[in-house]
Every structure is written in C-alpha cells, then in structure tokens.
C-alpha cells in the first residue's frame, strides 16, 4: 500500500530511504519534508489524518499520504515514515477543485459586486427619499411637465394647495391673465399650456401671472420654468410657483399711498403759497384799520362817551390781535416751507434791524443788548436767519432776571470751516432737565407768566438744520444761558 519507506533518527538525520525524491542518506529529513522540522512537537500529530501533504521537492510538486511509527533503542528514538505518492491522482483532483473554487471565487466576486450595487441602490434610494422630503416641504409649488407633450406629470403638495386643487388633473384647467409679458402677445388662457408653449418668449422665465385658482379665488403668482436638460427622451419642465398675492397687493397699496402722498404734498405747497399770499395781502388792510382806529382814538377821545371809546378799544385790540395772527401765519408759511433761498446777506444790518424791533421792550425790562464783534456778510436765507435771531433774542429778553442788571450779548467767531454765533444772557437760566428744548411744544419755563407757544427753538433748530449747521446751548439755573449756532462756510 505504501510506496516508500524512510527511516530517520530523533535529530532528523535520514538513515534509510527507498524514495527516489528523498535520495540522500545522512541528510536531514526536513530538507525534503519541512513537516519534520520539529519532530517532538509532531509526536501526537495524526499524520494518517493529514491528507494530502503537499511539498515541493526540487522543481516538482508532490502530494503524499503519510504514516509513521517509531521505536526506541537505548533511549534513542528511530522513526519509520511510510509514504504513498498520490501526486498524479491529486493533480487531477486539484484541477477539478481549482475549477470549482475558481467558480466559487467568481461567485464571490459577483456576490460582492451585487452587495455594493445593493448598497449603492440603497444610497440612491435614500437620495430619492431626501428629494421627496424636500419636494413635499418646500414653500414653493413644484410641478413637473413633460417637455414633449406638455402633460403635467406630477405636482407637490404645495402646488396643489396654491391652486386649491385636490388632484393633479385639476391643474390642467387653471386659467390665467398674462401679466408682465407683452399684453398684445398671444397667449393661451390655459396656464400650463401657455407655460409649455414653445412660442412663449424664452426670456420671460419668471412671470407674474394673475389667475383664478380652482376655487375661483383671484391670485397673483410668480411662475418660473426651468427646463431640465436631461439626456432622456422624457425631458421635463420643472415649474416653480409661488403665491405673491399679498406682496403684489401691498405693492399696489404702496403705489396708491405714494400717489396720495404726492397729492398731499402738492396741496400743502399750495396751502403754504396761499397762506403766504393771503397773510401778506391781509397785513396792509389790517395796518390801515389799526392806524385809523389809533387816529380816531387820538382825535376824538374827548368826544366819545364811555361806551363809544370801549367799542373803539375793541376794534383796536382786535385789529392788533388780527395783525399778530396774520404775521404769525406769514412767518409760519415762510419758516415751515422747505424751500430755502440763499443769498449774500449782511448779518450786521440784519441783526441791528432785529435789535431795533426789540428796543422798546428791552427798554421796558431794562435789558441792554450788545453786539460784541461785528457780524459778517455771508450767504444765508435772510428771512429764516432773521427768525432765528428774533427767537433767540426774544427768549433772552423774556427770561431776563428782574433782580439783576440784565444784558444780552451777541458774538461771532469765524472758524476754519464755519461761522459761529453766540447769544448769551444773564437771565434766570434753565434747570438741567431731560427735555429736549429743541423739540416742538417744549416750553422753556413752566411758569405761566412767560408766554409763548413752545415752537421758537424748534423753528430755530429746523432753520439751522436747513443751513446744514448745528445749534446747542449751555445754561445754568440762576446765572444765564448761552445759545450757539453755526453755519458752514460751504453751503
């Protein structure tokens, strides 16, 4: 049964061999059969069960069935190895097995490829899922339309909601009035036929369209068509729709409001012009009434009885009142007008005129008014600037401290880029407070003995602002106030 017999000692040295492939005597057995590199470790190894043992000897590959036994002489072990050379039959088996295993390998590769494909598919599926989620949650309506046939393939939830439709089919019947396109352009009243229409101007990719939705509600939609340039037969138009009814209506409202505002401004200007003309023209007759009633009083005072002179006084008082009303109206019309007329003005003359008009009241209240440095000739709106001086001087005189020798000083300084004007007084001053005295209707002192409408400083600020200048003040209660305003050199 066994073809060959090989004997070796416990050191692996070959003592005997009749195997042609293991010829050498006194050689080591593991040089041919590496299995025996550690003989002791092999001792309880069942060599019979090891089938086959494969080894390369020389250039040849062998398949062996092995069995072994040993005996001891003088404490030395001697091994007898039986070899059955099964190379030729195993070669056949190996060929078959290899074929089978090759198939198995190929199968494995296939399975592996399949697995990765499945994975990829799963990924694609989740991509698809993502897309679906986006499609269903976006705030825009999205509609897919077949590029070839114009047929609506599908629509997201939002699209159906926007058009008040239950089903995709209902979208087909949506009619529209074309809005931002050329009004003479022929269009199909069916919205989706219109959008699909090849004749439709391509640059009109985004359109505002007016339509009645499926529930006959009037709406304005913004519609955008994106052509999907897929290399597929069934290319799609993707139509994005959003409801802009609210925006559109607020835009419309805004437009109307603007129109109203323009009309209002226009009428305001007209009113101002009227007030100007009316007050200007009214002053002359009132002055006449005033002077003649004065004259009358002077000339006939002794000839009038009590009642008659009372009537005359009433006429005089009312004429005075009317005069001051009309003057105020005239001022108001001029000051409030945003129109500003700059011209070269000698401020020294202007200020002297203002001071003159305050002379009598100043004398009455014992206030001296002094110009410290001569004022320059600069470009301003003379009417408006005159009002500033009037207001500031009138305040300074009004709030004079009767217990002191009161004065008002007006000074001027030329700085690099601006002119600065100062109006100082030693009047009662103001308590520091949180009120912005330059706001309209802010009274400087709450005591009723000081009359005024609270507009004076607001008007000043407005005028200085129109001159691109600044106004501020410093005041100490009980000591006096100092108002400073500046006018830039380059207006």
């Amino acid at each position: 049964m066994f073809d060959y017999r090989v004997k070796f000692d416990q050191s692996g040295k070959i003592i005997y061999s009749n195997a042609p492939m293991i010829p050498a005597q006194h050689d080591q057995i593991d040089r041919y059969l590496p299995l025996f590199y550690d003989i002791e470790a092999l001792e309880d190894f069942d060599l019979k069960a090891l089938r086959p043992y494969e080894c390369h000897i020389g250039n040849k590959k062998y398949f062996f069935h092995l069995d072994w036994s040993f005996h001891e002489i003088d404490n030395m072990r001697f091994y007898e190895l039986l070899i059955e050379d099964r190379t030729s039959s195993y070669n056949r088996l190996q060929k078959e097995r290899s074929k089978k295993n090759t198939l198995r390998l190929e199968q494995d590769y296939l399975i592996d490829r399949l697995n990765t494909e499945v994975e990829e598919k799963n990924e694609a599926r989740s991509d698809n899922h993502e897309l679906k989620t986006i499609l269903e949650h976006t705030r825009e309506g999205i509609i897919y339309q077949n590029q070839m046939t114009g047929e609506i393939v599908k629509a997201n939830h939002k699209a159906l909601e926007l058009f008040s439709c239950q089903k995709v089919e209902e979208l087909k019947s949506i009619q529209h009035i074309h809005f931002n396109g050329n009004p003479r352009e022929e269009y199909d009243p069916k919205l989706f036929v219109h959008l699909w229409n090849k004749e439709r101007k391509r640059e009109a990719k985004e359109e505002v369209i007016k339509l009645n939705d499926h529930a006959q509600k009037e709406k304005y939609f913004s519609v955008r068509v994106v052509e999907e340039q897929a290399l597929k037969l069934e290319s799609l138009n993707i139509i994005f729709v959003s409801d802009i009814t609210n925006e559109y209506q607020s835009k419309l409202e805004l437009k109307n409001k603007n129109k109203e505002l323009l009309q209002y401004i226009e009428s305001n200007v007209q009113l101002e012009q009227f007030a100007h003309v009316a007050s200007h023209d009214l002053r002359a007759p009132i002055i006449t009434i005033k002077s003649f009633s004065n004259l009358l009083k002077e000339k006939c005072a002794d000839r009038l009885n009590d009642n008659e002179s009372k009537y005359l006084n009433i006429i005089k008082e009312n004429a005075d009142q009317m005069f001051s009303l009309v003057s105020d109206l005239l001022d108001y019309a001029q000051i409030n007008s945003q129109k500003i007329a700059f011209k070269k003005t000698n401020l020294q003359f202007l200020l002297e005129g203002v001071i003159d008009s305050f002379r009598s009241i100043a004398n009455q209240t014992n206030v001296t008014i002094e110009i410290v440095n001569r004022l320059p000739e600069i470009v301003v709106d003379d009417v408006k600037l005159k009002r500033v001086f009037q207001n500031l001087l009138s305040n300074a005189i009004k709030f004079a401290d009767p217990t002191k020798k009161s004065f008002v000083k007006i000074d001027f300084a030329e700085l690099d880029d601006k002119y600065e004007f100062m109006i100082c007084d030693n009047g009662i001053g103001m308590k520091e407070g949180s009120v912005d005295i330059f706001q309209p209707y802010t009274k400087l002192n709450l005591q009723t003995e000081y009359e005024g409408n609270g507009m004076g400083l607001a008007i000043c600020k407005n005028i200085i602002k129109q001159h691109k200048g600044e106004i501020y003040y410093k005041s100490t209660y009980g000591e006096g106030s100092r108002f400073v305003f500046s006018i830039p050199k380059e207006l």
Binding site: Y37, E54, N101, R104, L105, N115
Partner: protein
C-alpha cells in the same frame, strides 16, 4: 547566533491568496492560475535579525481543513497566526476578524492581500477597519513588512511569557 523556530499558520478563506503569499515570500514564485490547496503545505524561511535568526515554518492549509474537526490540531503549537483576507472581497475580512477576535489568544496580525487589485479609496476604507498590513502575492508588496510584523509580535510575546 541564537536560532529560534516559529510556527506560523496562515488563516483565511478559500482563494484569498494564502498559498500564493507563502510561495512568493519563500520562493519568490507566483502563478495567476489558481491551484487550489488540498491539504497541508509547509514552507520554511529563515529571517536574520540583529541578534537572532528566526526560522519561520509557514503552515498553509487548504480551505477545507479550516472547516474540519482537525483544525484545532493544525494550529496547535502555533506561535503566530497570519489572518489573510482578499482586499477585493471585503466580506472575507468580516469572517476573518470574527474568528481572530473570538477564539485566538496567540499573536496574530490581519493582512489584506491582493492590494494590487483595489483602489486607494478602498484601501483607506479598510484602514478604517484597523487593517494594518496590505500585501500582494503578485508583486510581493508588503510581504516582508507583514511577516516582520508577526515575528515582532511573537518575539515580544516570548519575552513576556
């Protein structure tokens, strides 16, 4: 010089390239045609280190033996196990790591063979699975490093035991 013998068992699925690795590493031979292993083949290779020469006995078993009851007998006395999988068939890695984690307490390494067949991306994926060694029995790439790896593990085991 001191000489130490180490039994190393190659372990892995059919066709991952155990026999090819052994032949290439020991005799620098490689064949594209698949010759299925039928039983046990043992190759010897001597590696000279600085102060020791390691005689590696590389046991290459047929796939069938792994499934047989005698398998434990074959790995008995092994000093190290080289677990081999086919980088181009990732599932062979799963089987391998499962076996090596569960039932082996001797030094072992995991080797991804046929690295010449895969892309660098695929290689990076495998590196994430803690594969340290990549070899190709076809080109010989990585073989020295892999066997050096198992030798180092076996020697350090020897020191501590």
């Amino acid at each position: 010089m001191r000489e130490i013998r180490k039994k190393v068992v190659l372990f892995g699925n059919v066709g991952v390239g155990k026999s090819s690795i052994s032949r290439k590493y020991v005799s620098n031979e490689f064949s594209e045609t698949y010759m299925s292993s039928l039983g046990l083949s043992i190759e010897k290779k001597v590696i000279e280190l600085a102060n020791v020469s390691v005689i590696l006995m590389i046991w290459d078993l047929a796939g069938e033996i792994f499934e047989s009851t005698q398998f434990q007998g074959y790995i008995k006395g092994a000093h190290g196990i080289v677990g081999i999988f086919d980088s181009s068939r990732p599932y062979t890695h799963d089987l391998l790591s499962k076996f090596l984690d569960d039932s082996i307490d001797c030094p072992h390494i995991i080797v991804g063979n046929k690295v010449d067949l895969i892309t660098s991306e695929a290689k990076n994926e495998l590196k994430k699975k803690n594969v340290e060694y990549f070899t190709s029995a076809k080109t010989g790439e990585g073989l020295d490093e892999a066997f050096r790896g198992i030798i180092d593990k076996m020697i350090s085991e020897e020191v501590y035991v």
